[in-house]
């Protein structure tokens, strides 16, 4: 299926717009460029609305009702109509889908009123008449769209927001898994298996009815009824036990997961404690260091004086004069009661009197005093050594504070990762719960096995009783009923074999295709060897060393997830039972340059028709060169010069046209 023309009328910002979007085999890309908030996403949702009505609007952030998309200016002017129309080509035939509402004049700011009846029409373009195959009611027409074109839940793999597709790399939601099964056609087969089980029951009941009708053995018939009742009851018991086992397994899985998180959390708590202890020791060191610094600051006046002391220390003392020397010597000999003079003469009374006259009233020499004082201070305080101590103490102080800071940051980081987890009480509690869940699994499992064995016994007994009744009856009708019953069983087994064969054939093919696309798109090709898909449709990235990581853990950036998701969608597209256009809003989001180039080179391969709605920052003129050979048409959405609230779509002049 491809879209040939899009026409919108009074939808969002668009009073009216018609754009041909048909493509050829060689040129299969349509580019539509628009700055943000001009009407790009409005156009995207117009297409989804045309196909699916209100359901198509569900994925929008806040506008989920069709009336919220009616052009306000048009409604303010008067009564009118809003519609979106797609002309499509499907399996060689052309159709036109038109969907919309009549609305009433509504003042700006009020909720726009419609006539409440959505108009949906599918025209056969060959004759311009409504398509009879689609029926008369909107529900049958919608069924036609779902079955013939692209079903709604599968459309998420065809029409998507480039930034939003990261969710496919998260743990797949049930709805996504179901959609995947439907895309691949497995859903049809599993439905068939279920329905045939029911059909089998019908034929079994038919046979049983015939058996009872044709037999005259009332006693045996009664036994048969009783055993069949037991069989039904036993099947209920089995269903219940099966459910219990599944529930217990689920519970155990949950506890195991919680335990894992808590154990990891506990490791973090232990690490945090180690860091906290180290910090306490550091704080003690800091306190000691600060005491040392305080003490050294206490002598900082001497340290600041030290250069001056050095200078003074280098000064020369004025040598004493002869008189000063004689005076000093005489005084010394007198004070010490010398018997002999330094010249060797005996000191008698006469000489003593001469010596006393020599003693001068000497004035102290301040320069000499200062110098000698400074010498003694230097010798006592050792200022150079203290300066060196001060340097070390300051460096230690900075180092210790730095380490304390680093540790505090680490503790903060751990705390932010730990809210509500890992308390000492949690882990034993969870282990206990996990163990009990395991016990339940074993217990219910055992009961289930016993119940199944019992059922087999009942069925054996039923078989014997039926044989007994059959042997007494000679009836073609009964034989036919029995053969039909066996025939249905054979058909059921064939369907199961089909399912298994399809899984075994297609899943590896899908996996390989997704892997190949992924490796084409990815940046660091040596790091990865591909993608695996498990039975639950969860994707994992395969590393060069063989390890596997769920894709939601693979790359923290949405860019990396976008690559994985695109590869997955490309795979599903290829394998889908439906073909259709791929329409991408915001294709390149926040990707780096290499990923962007890889994706741009790949997009044209995604489908027979690819429509890309982009902003100028995502695909600039240089990027367009990559797409040059594939673009059929290039449009731009602009506002009207005199009416900035309204939008129009015009051909875009770019480097590639």
């Amino acid at each position: 299926m491809k879209i040939k023309t899009i026409e919108i009328f009074n939808w969002g910002r668009y009073p009216k717009a018609t754009i041909p979007v048909d493509v050829s085999e060689d040129r299969n890309v349509i580019l539509i460029r628009a700055r943000n908030n001009i009407g790009k996403t409005t156009l995207f949702y117009a297409i989804k609305y045309a196909f699916y009505g209100k359901k198509g609007l569900e994925s929008h952030k806040n506008q989920h009702e069709p009336h919220e998309w009616i052009n306000r200016q048009a409604a303010a002017k008067g009564d009118g109509k809003m519609f979106v129309e797609l002309t499509i080509e499907h399996q060689g035939k052309e159709y036109r889908i038109q969907r919309g509402f009549k609305f009433y004049q509504t003042n700006t700011g009020e909720t726009i009123q419609t006539d409440g009846k959505e108009e949906l029409e599918i025209f056969d373009q060959e004759n311009g008449q409504p398509l009879t195959d689609a029926g008369k009611e909107n529900t049958t027409k919608q069924n036609w769209i779902n079955s013939m074109l692209i079903p709604y839940d599968v459309s998420q793999f065809f029409f998507f927001d480039g930034e939003d597709i990261k969710r496919y790399t998260d743990e797949p939601e049930e709805t996504v898994k179901k959609a995947i099964l439907r895309v691949l056609g497995i859903k049809v087969l599993t439905n068939t298996r279920e329905d045939l089980e029911h059909t089998q029951k019908l034929f079994n009941d038919l046979y049983n009815k015939k058996l009872k009708e044709k037999s005259n053995d009332e006693k045996t018939k009664e036994r048969l009824e009783q055993i069949q009742k037991k069989i039904d009851e036993q099947k209920s018991v089995i269903t219940h036990l099966d459910g219990a086992v599944k529930q217990a397994k689920q519970l155990k899985e949950n506890y195991t997961e919680q335990l894992k998180n808590n154990v990891l959390a506990q490791e973090k708590i232990n690490e945090r404690q180690r860091i906290a202890d180290a910090n306490e020791a550091l704080k003690k060191n800091l306190k000691d260091n600060e005491e040392i610094l305080k003490r050294l600051r206490g002598v900082s006046s001497i340290l600041l004086l030290e250069p001056l002391l050095r200078i003074i220390d280098k000064t020369e003392e004025n040598p004493p004069s002869k008189d000063q020397w004689e005076s000093k010597t005489a005084k010394h000999m007198i004070d010490k009661n010398f018997k002999t003079c330094v010249c060797g003469t005996h000191i008698d009374a006469e000489l003593k009197e001469k010596l006393e006259k020599k003693v001068l009233e000497l004035k102290p020499n301040p320069q000499a005093q200062l110098k000698r004082f400074v010498e003694s201070v230097i010798g006592r305080t050792l200022p150079e050594r203290k300066i060196s101590e001060l340097d070390h103490a300051i460096k230690d102080n900075i180092r210790i504070k730095g380490e304390i800071d680093t540790n505090s940051t680490a503790i903060k980081r751990i705390n932010s990762e730990l809210p509500g987890k890992g308390s000492d009480a949690m882990i034993p509690l969870l282990r206990d719960k996990e163990a009990r869940a395991e016990e339940d699994i074993i217990k219910y499992g055992r009961d289930l096995e016993r119940a199944k064995d019992q059922l087999i016994d009942f069925e054996k007994e039923e078989f014997v009783i039926k044989r007994k009744l059959e042997q007494a009856i000679d009836s073609e009708e009964l034989k036919t009923a029995e053969n039909q019953k066996e025939f249905v069983q054979k058909v059921r087994e064939a369907v199961q074999k089909t399912i298994t064969a399809y899984y075994e054939l297609r899943k590896p093919e899908l996996e390989k295709y997704v892997s190949d696309v992924f490796l084409k798109l990815v940046n660091n090709k040596k790091l990865y060897t591909g993608i695996t898909i498990d039975d639950e449709w969860e994707m994992k990235v395969k590393y060069y060393d063989g390890s596997l990581l769920p894709t939601y853990q693979y790359g923290p950036s949405s860019g990396a997830s976008q690559i994985v998701a695109t590869a997955f969608i490309a795979g599903l597209n290829k394998f889908a039972q439906k073909s259709g256009p791929v329409i991408i809003d915001t294709p390149l989001g926040r990707l780096d340059d290499i990923h962007r180039t890889n994706l741009l080179e790949y997009y044209n391969k995604m489908s027979e028709q690819v429509i890309i709605l982009y902003t100028p920052t995502e695909i600039n003129d240089n990027d367009q060169v990559i797409l040059e050979d594939y673009v059929m048409k290039h449009y731009e959405i602009l506002s009207y010069d005199d009416l900035p609230d309204l939008a129009r779509i015009i051909p875009y002049e770019s480097v590639i046209q």
């Binding site: 079955s147 329905d195 039909q484 058909v491 394998f575 039972q577």
Partner: protein, 64 residues
């Protein structure tokens, strides 16, 4: 029909042969189910057509 759909048909036809079922029965059932799968809520409306297919092909297999 897409390549994926073709593959399913291929497998179905192969299994039909292997299991010696009347030719076309599995495809007939599959086509019937295909119509239903796109409905939002599955109903039991496939019950009657399925039964009719079974009976029809059963009779065909008896004639062979």
């Amino acid at each position: 029909m897409t390549e994926a759909g073709d593959k399913i048909i291929e497998i179905i036809e192969k299994i039909e042969k292997e299991e010696k079922l009347p030719k076309g029965i599995l495809k007939a059932i599959y086509d019937e189910e295909l119509i239903q799968v796109h409905k939002d809520i599955r109903t039991n409306s496939v019950e009657k057509p399925l039964r009719e297919i079974i009976v029809k092909y059963f009779e065909m297999s008896n004639e062979d």
